[in-house]
Symmetry: C2
Subunit: 454 residues, 2 copies
């Protein structure tokens, strides 16, 4: 019986047109990662629930997709709990595996599990889907790809610099205008330290972030309302009003944070990174931004975020340094730094700005119209040469009406259509039609290859 | 608390070394698929169970990984069934989604769901993991990749030919010696028809397959034991003993199957395909093999199988023509033909024969030893030029002991190590060490690029 087919909410099919664009993004980031010595790993879609549970907070535990045990899965479930319909408690008795929720926890698990095979510093990238039972909404999916690049086992700030180089190169290749926001967790700790308010650091960054919108007085009011003393507010005035070049900001921060050891360390780190970047002459705009506070509990040093300058959209790349990725799995003191490229948002930005190349190496460049018989064999012979020149080309498989064949070429956006009948065969040429301009000419195979090549 | 990390049985982590090799295979097949006008699609890992159930037989239904509904999943479950622990019946009340079991059913679902956006003939490839709750054993995993290429919406035998061309080109590029076995379901139907034993066709192919091992008499005995009349056995003697060139076999088959319309049709199809292949001058060995009977219920025309000639292993590629892929989802009469490349087996063959290229474009070509300070900055400057030449290269991030750095380069199998101290800096050169031969020389950046490029 016929079923009306559909897919689970929050998931997506990707058509050839979408896949070619997505692969353009993935291939670009991969090529850059590899240029800097990062290599791919992949981990299973399913992880043991013992690996996943408790790593993403209570809410995260709920958003994990759990996989039902195989076979007679209820056999060992507790009758009493079943009768009570205690969904949560029964869960651990009927499900042992879950779909991965991000790439970070599986990466940590991978590093610990394979620590004896890995040579540190371990530079890896990982591009795989993750699954979250979130309420689907515009731009939020239950299955989406993450694209992470990390180096673990090295404290060198050169790694931070390298990741910024990677950001610079990726977005240069993708033609997206970006600014990289840079902060350092230790600076934020320093601020909290000098005013003795380490529990208020999020409130402070949130308030500072509003300066442009609501003005200094309102920011100070908000800080007071969050419980900061007048003295504390006075102390951090220079930080709230921090402005000028990155160097100006560094100098001011060093002054204000003089009394905080960790704060000074943070300023040092920022300065070292900025010095490297100066030497490297990057095009990338790098802005020191103290309001940047993503994943505070997680990061311990540098914090990065990348924004597209020509499209209003959240950050398209982000990351930072963490000091204890693998502790939860029993391997202490493995520091690392990493960033994650947001493929879906990058896709949206590029679509909106029409940055995808029209001629993509994956797409078909030319289609032969099929006239059957001798003409078909001639077309096959020509195609062999065309493909040997590494050009994607096809022959319509049926010698049906011209209109149908041209329709196919049109829909598939094939830029050149080739025609060859008796006349072409006798002269060993091909008629090539440029589908955009409508121009048509009779050419030799060598000329044809020159014309249709990207 | 520290947990000993592990992954679910039957699943795998892929290390960088393995990933580079796997990607070499995937990139090769993709490039060939695209050369013939096939483009990628991707479908979600999760499908509705209504899409999956009933498509793989009763055993297949059991092997599907089911995903537990989110939230209070037991709420709507029937109390009586829970009390009975009726795992199967409860399942449909607590799970609506499953992980895809193959790429064929999702592809059929995709074609039906998007039929109005697709231009037929639809040429697509799909490379994604699938999941089966099979008992894991050597070479059989619960998560593995399928790599399918299909064209649907065209009856032309040119499609069969094109897939054979693809097989030829893929294995030429991968350097694997293969033979393609070819059969046609209609020929098998014809054989069954002339002896009026359509239920015996599997028994017949199985018996014929043993000819080399057990000899003609035993084969005939086996056929008799399966219930074939002496007359039937006599009739198909020429088929059992079919030998010689593909053309000889075609001629003999045409004779024996003279009385069967469907049989003649099958012979015609085989002949057309072989004629095309002759015109195309393929290197590929193509053997007509009547014992080839994979997925009999599924295929309706051509049947293919590819065997590696230098390694004892099952088929590494297979497929055929099917006439009703999408009927189950309500779209009738969509004929298609496709093949599937077995990535895991291809990987094993290439590993065993050491066919993976030593120098792979994904791997790091050169590593700079980090001497810190000015030397580090000099290295960064050189690296910028090296990377601009599209060469993967890195700088060890910490200026630690030479031995540790060399160890890293060794373990990562980086073929060239670069060194630059004061002397090199002053002369604007780099010392490059070939890690295989131990040779060392001082060269300019331009020379360096020539040396370390693949």
């Amino acid at each position: 019986m016929a079923q009306k087919p559909s897919i689970p909410k929050g998931t997506r099919d990707f058509s050839p047109v979408e896949m070619v664009k997505r692969n353009y993004i993935f291939d670009t980031v991969k090529s850059v990662f590899q240029k800097y010595g990062y290599l791919p790993i992949e981990t299973p879609a399913m992880e043991n629930l013992s690996t996943l549970l408790g790593k993403y907070g209570e809410e995260g535990d709920k958003l994990l997709f759990k996989i039902l045990n195989s076979g007679d899965y209820l056999k060992k479930a507790d009758e009493g709990l079943l009768a009570e319909k205690a969904s949560n408690k029964v869960m651990s008795q009927i499900s042992e595996k879950g779909l991965r929720y991000d790439l970070t926890v599986p990466f940590a698990r991978f590093v610990v599990q394979h620590q004896n095979e890995i040579s540190f510093p371990f530079k890896r990238y990982q591009i795989q889907p993750v699954w979250r039972a979130d309420r689907p909404q515009k731009g939020r999916y239950r299955e989406f790809f993450q694209c992470d690049v990390d180096v673990v086992g090295s404290n060198s700030l050169l790694n931070e610099v390298e990741l910024i180089q990677i950001v610079d190169e990726v977005y240069r290749l993708l033609n997206i205008n970006v600014a990289l926001l840079l902060n350092n967790r230790k600076v934020l700790s320093g601020i909290a330290e000098i005013i003795d308010a380490s529990d208020k650091i999020v409130d402070i960054t949130v308030a500072i972030d509003k300066l442009d919108k609501i003005g200094l007085d309102k920011v100070n009011e908000e800080l007071a309302s969050k419980g900061l003393s007048q003295e504390a507010i006075d102390t951090i005035q220079p930080i709230i009003m921090l402005s000028g070049s990155n160097r100006d900001k560094i100098a001011k921060l060093r002054e204000v944070l003089a009394a905080s050891e960790v704060g000074q360390k943070g300023v040092d780190e920022l300065e070292v990174v900025l010095n490297y970047l100066d030497t490297l002459n990057l095009d990338l705009e790098v802005d020191l931004d103290l309001t940047l506070a993503r994943g505070l509990n997680y990061y311990t040093g540098a914090i990065f975020e990348v924004k597209a300058k020509d499209v209003k959209i959240g950050s398209i790349t982000g990351g930072g340094r963490y000091d204890d990725l693998t502790g939860i799995f029993g391997l202490k003191d493995v520091s690392g730094v990493g960033i994650s490229f947001g493929a879906d948002r990058i896709y949206d930005v590029m679509n909106q700005l029409e940055l995808f190349p029209k001629a993509d190496g994956a797409k078909t460049r030319a289609m032969f119209v099929n006239f059957g018989g001798e003409d078909e064999l001639y077309a096959l012979r020509i195609l062999k040469e065309v493909r040997q020149a590494d050009i994607n080309a096809e022959l319509f498989p049926d010698s049906v009406k011209m209109k149908k064949q041209m329709n196919y070429a049109n829909k598939k956006e094939i830029p050149f259509v080739l025609l060859a009948g008796e006349e072409e065969r006798n002269n060993n040429v091909v008629t090539v039609k440029n589908m955009e301009t409508g121009e048509q000419s009779k050419v030799s195979v060598d000329e044809l290859i020159k014309i249709i090549n990207i």
